[in-house]
Assembly symmetry: C2
Homo-oligomer: 185 residues x 2
């Protein structure tokens, strides 16, 4: 099993994966085993691409993030909703979540945290800084991959009350925004 | 014209307005006049509710944000897409955007930045801190209001390439997430 099921995404386009605000899975590898958490508190910081994610300091994945200073942001689609909810409601402290939820770990190109084969997109990230007073983790994307064959591409948006909104239709304002779209998008 | 067209939202629920990642309009008032910018780089930081938004230091609104330390985050719906794009592609330096786009400013309850009558939701915010090295503005919501009568409630998600995704259907996993949903939501 390798990454050949995925095609490379240019780094200049990667901010467009998180800008719409999808719920994501974040993987870590602490040297012994892989873990994964569900996160919806994410933000683009720059087109370079640089992101911020927020996670509680009590989160089990947080330790691996702090120690290894790397992770993968994997973007699931609507068909994975029950896995997203399952991953978000148990802890890596006592659960092998990859095994429990039937997720397939694929080796990344740059980082040791695994890609998730079942997800639409995987973004390999390095930690730039952790702003402890808000538990904001600043990340630089260093590689990104997208499933070549996946038909379902609608992502999920967590509302925070236990409901999720699914992507609906796409509206095009490229012509009107021409001057505002960065090069390489 | 007053706020009576809107009903108050409990602060404990306000994080659910931004958690799904909608594109927002952010208003400021510099003491002389009101301004508004389009932002899609936002993140929930805490349920209290506390948010982060990111905006370029060159942005005209940034000055008013730094000086007055308050703003309103207004959430537009799909019928306002062309206003969202228009506001995002001109500058308050040379344009009265409220006048140009026919937006109606309503007085806030706590802050001097105006609410936008045409938006679904308006969140009054105070600046907690500006993290200059990333241009992250940390905000605490101090009051929030939602249109009582508005039929259209679907929000927009900016992709960043000039296209926007509209909210599709809503999926319910409240039962499965019961233990994870904070009190008061």
């Amino acid at each position: 099993m390798d990454r050949s099921v995925m095609r490379t995404i240019k780094l200049s386009k990667v901010f467009t994966l998180l800008e719409p605000g999808p719920v994501v899975l974040v993987t870590t590898h602490d040297g012994k085993r892989s873990n994964v958490m569900t996160i919806s508190w994410t933000m683009v910081l720059d087109f370079t691409p640089r992101f911020a994610i927020t996670t509680g300091a009590l989160n089990y994945s947080y330790r691996a993030l702090r120690r290894t200073r790397e992770c993968v942001i994997a973007i699931p689609t609507v068909d994975l909703l029950d896995i997203v909810v399952g991953v978000g409601t148990c802890s890596g402290a006592d659960t092998d979540k990859f095994a429990k939820f039937g997720l397939t770990a694929l080796p990344g190109k740059v980082v040791n945290a695994p890609l998730i084969k079942e997800c639409l997109t995987n973004i390999e990230c390095r930690v730039v800084e952790i702003i402890r007073r808000y538990d904001i983790v600043v990340l630089d994307a260093v590689a990104a991959h997208q499933s070549a064959s996946r038909k379902e591409r609608r992502t999920l948006h967590a509302v925070g009350d236990g409901t999720f909104t699914v992507d609906g239709r796409r509206l095009d304002r490229r012509r009107q925004m021409k001057g505002k779209i960065p090069a390489g998008v």
